[in-house]
Symmetry: D2
Subunit: 361 residues, 4 copies
């Protein structure tokens, strides 16, 4: 209720500050009987892990996750799953300067006003380091969804001004950017190298898709599948926009163009992004999210201190010049967590439903 | 939990089908002591009401709301507020044809697969008629927020291909489109008239803003203010995208450009749209939403029936050629409901917080 | 969240004051496909209805329930079910005296302190009249449970000092007290007649049982089946105690006596009341609840007014001399609502579980 | 939602099995600015700790709690508080026998049917070892309540057939039983010694009281203060009954006797146990809970194995002959968690309420 929980039936509650002793999560409501090991979670954690290329923060964190409960003899038991990652590279630098200043476009100012205090070391709770636990929890959801024939995958569709076309999934995992087109990777690298020389940062757009989702998931009217997806994706650090299917392009479309016609062989298009009336249609679910540029840049910026005096802030430290680069596994996690929760809610209410009507794709 | 409730402390639960006897809602958690009458709710209901211009559906509904509980001697008592609007113009036409067919891009197909059956009269529960109760509940939230110095207002910022600049709030209420620029209204009317002749529909973009919101609202990490706003706005019928502040434009921005610098006199820009780290900053909160074109067009479309056979569907009836035209009061309602809920959550946890740091705008 | 909702997946939210225009409820999450009519709800409403014998309040309310949504062509659709009962006999008497006084042992004083005001007509929201909607919603739950082979029934096991043994279910419905032993009814009638002559009131104990509940319902550790049953039963007006199985008698029992041994033919006893470790065991679920004597007695009592001055209060009006007499259908409703919710939660998480171990009774 | 979370605004989510690597909890929604150290939690943990007298289990667990987040520079920050206790004495004995058998009156049988599998080592998740985290979380709640002038304390009021009168709080902490009458302690010790010789176990009754609670806490109609207290207390392992105030004794009381009259000097009695209409009255809140005898006794008992075959079970291991002996701190924790949650809910909705009427005690 106080914000650190996602989901209603498959719930994930997280804790942990950027420079505290550990990050952790409790995954509650996981179905029993799923084979699960720490290695299953580590795979996605490694995809999100910092320091794996020169284009991300140089903080070195192994992000080794431990499963503390809820798994017995290699299988989930249905009880709460406790997860923990110890912080190992929370460099004990001097924070005395940043302590009383608000970095522009960071959460420093708003946390201070909300709580009256804040853990100022590396952003404390507002750091994107928190998303490691989302990825770990999301991997559990993915494991279950996968057994149901549902895959959740993402890629970077835009880096600053550079837009990328989707080519194939194999390429996505072959480069540091989750770029779906291998031919564009050198261009992205050159762009990032220049950006670093400019001491600046840039935004990104991520696309995440789910295939194999059965028709029927989503709870109208407020908890539509797309509404909860938007909730989950917008809750990721730095996200400023979410689209389902054609998104904002739908504004200028006509009804005769936007509507996805159906034939016995399937849908003829997918402008809707796989959701109609807030319920999955059986088509591929498609969402896009916009991430703003990292606010931590070494170019000086105007701000105030906690006494209201003007200050000039230069954000040093180890930062991602584009937070979007590591955002793909996080977006996948939020999509997977949303889907498993809706799958469970759907079953709870509609277990006995069966229709003769064939399901289209 | 099953989807018909919005909010955690100021909760709105709605019921009602397009052609059933009535729509209703229960507003729970409303603070006591707020002067409230049916007329206070009617004002916004009339702004959303169908049939007030030739550009919206010709269904005639007075949308007279009744308060059935929770208000005593003209003042809220703190107990649950029951609301009801009786449907009066649910024309008893012949639905036998539509009964077994799925209109393309409607929720017919997905409701059928989810629930195994559906009230097919006028879309049943999936009809945007449901949003009347959101507007009524939102008016209660607005009444409270207004007493706290918080205003929530919206306007249409794009109609199909036509984009509008904000000029002034008075103009917004002076035309059938909630257009913020009076000089553009004749152009919008001409566009809509042509659209009707084309028997087609079109999308729209709505912008909704909240002024006077104090710094500190929002519950990281999952229930950030922007994440719950996205949830609420995406839950409105036909919405396919949500942006906070610069939204998708932030992708191509650099950090030095996007960050909103602060001086003792206030913020120097508002790219963030009033939310930093998921918490309100005290600046104006700005959100945009994309609505798809109405799927009910009289141009024939390909579809299937419940037996899987191909059919050609022509959607007759009384429909809005642009659902976005009446969406502004609905978007305001969802923004107001999100804000009052976060105001209450913030108080619950952070009542004792006080800081000396001045609050910027 | 603000208290007027029960359940997590099959949720019931109620509104309505004793002397307002109407009572209402929204039942959300009801499985689709259940045959349902207003008559199905009316049956239990009539069992709870006032004025049917000389031993209950003489207020005349037909308690005619209307279904406003969520049922189409005689079958639930899976969408929110709106229910309403209009108040017809809210006698317009003069409340000017009671307005500023707190009746001892009523909620007047606490509502006043909580909300700063209250609807003082007939107790307003704190009146047991609210429980009519619980009974209506419970009847929906019962209809579903019944189709699953689960029955929920209750009886009065104690009236003031008189304790009754269970004889048979048919007898329970044959008298005004829900007394399970027909031979005791004359004694109960005589007791109540004397009580009325004494102008006093008395407490009662109700026993409610569920048969046919499968093993496996309940969500440890906090949302155990017995814990949520206790929540639901204690939320009924005037309830001061709840027991599962042997309840307080278990304090003086030894482990070798209390434990219910198992054989392949079944359990050998049921001290546990059908719940082990918070999860149903497949045995009959048994709960007892204690209701305090009605506080509305015509014997004068000392109290204060809203200014803190001493007053002597005599509660006139039409009151039940023993609120427990009409409490049986309410207790059944809360048991049924708890069970259906847990049935749905269980399915959501444990759908794929199957064990070879036989289920005992 | 899946059962491992308590509270709506001040939420506690726990994980951990009896013989797993660790127990843990996340406390979310804690107000910022509360001085808090591990020692503050350790005090109550030590009161609940096993192995401190010969009358409890001889398992040796230091129960050293670590705070992993949410506290910075000795003060709560308002972000999620991660807690962990490592299990150190999970003796690696041979569980091969118990693995396929259901101990009578334990949760073995029900966990097996619910989840299809279970961690059988020491009861796994169903072990009362889980309550250590409740006590740790409750200590945080107590710290906050204490600063508001609210105390929560408990004592043992009955051990098997022996009932104890409350004498003074100092005595409660002076013996291994939380007995409130020092003169009775030798008798309790003799009783327990005989019980151990009998190889049997016995139940207990705990009384828990809260003083200094302001009038106004509780959310009618379903989330009454007493209803949620009942929920919390009944969720403790082995609890079979809960009473508020006079509880089941109220059944035989008359209204003229039960009602607590008021004078300007205060209430004249407290039969209600401090709750009227589900809302705190300002009087001392009094609850009683019944704990069943431990099911783990070394006297052989009949049962079945997972194949349905009859078996004779002898429960060896280190067990409490009366689980009630260590239950007092747990009951206090659940009372404290219930109260802080309601305090926060009350503020959220009723912050602006003020009445001139004096508050009685």
């Amino acid at each position: 209720m106080s914000g650190n929980t996602f989901g209603k039936l498959f719930t994930v509650t997280t804790f942990g500050e950027s420079h505290g002793p550990a990050l952790g999560a409790i995954v509650d409501g996981c179905p029993p009987g799923i084979p699960l090991s720490e290695a299953d979670l580590q795979r996605d954690l490694d995809r999100r892990r910092p320091g794996t290329s020169r284009h991300t923060t140089q903080r070195r964190e192994p992000d080794q996750v431990r499963i503390l409960s809820g798994v017995f003899e290699g299988v989930t038991t249905g009880t709460a799953i406790g997860l923990m990652i110890e912080n190992t590279d929370q460099r004990s630098k001097d924070y005395s300067k940043i302590k009383d200043q608000f970095r522009p476009a960071h959460a420093d100012y708003t946390y201070h006003h909300k709580y009256g205090r804040r853990d100022y070391r590396g952003g404390g709770r507002s750091s994107a380091r928190e998303t490691a636990m989302r990825v770990a929890a999301g991997a559990i959801a993915k494991a279950y969804l996968s057994a149901q024939g549902i895959s959740v995958r993402g890629y970077m569709s835009q880096l600053g001004p550079l837009t990328m076309e989707f080519k194939d999934w194999a390429s996505v995992e072959d480069n540091a950017f989750f770029c779906p087109d291998p031919e564009r990777v050198p261009e992205l690298e050159a762009y990032m190298d220049q950006l670093r020389r400019d001491q600046d940062s840039v935004g990104a757009k991520i696309t995440v898709v789910a295939e194999g989702v059965p028709a029927g998931l989503g709870e109208p009217v407020f908890d539509r599948l797309d509404a909860e997806l938007a909730h989950g994706l917008m809750s990721i650090n730095a996200v400023k926009g979410v689209e389902i299917g054609d998104g904002f392009a739908a504004v200028a479309q006509r009804g005769s163009e936007h509507r996805d016609e159906m034939t016995p062989e399937g849908f003829l298009s997918n402008h809707a992004g796989g959701v109609l009336g807030g319920i999955s249609s059986g088509q591929t679910i498609i969402a896009h999210l916009a991430l703003k540029p990292t606010s931590s840049v070494t170019l000086p910026g105007r701000s105030i201190d906690i006494h209201g005096n003007p200050v000039e802030v230069v954000t040093k430290g180890r930062h991602d010049p584009c937070v979007g680069i590591r955002a793909t596994p996080i977006a996948e996690a939020m999509m997977a967590l949303t889907l498993i929760d809706h799958l469970m809610r759907h079953r709870a209410q509609n277990l006995d439903v069966s229709v003769d009507t064939p399901q289209l794709r």
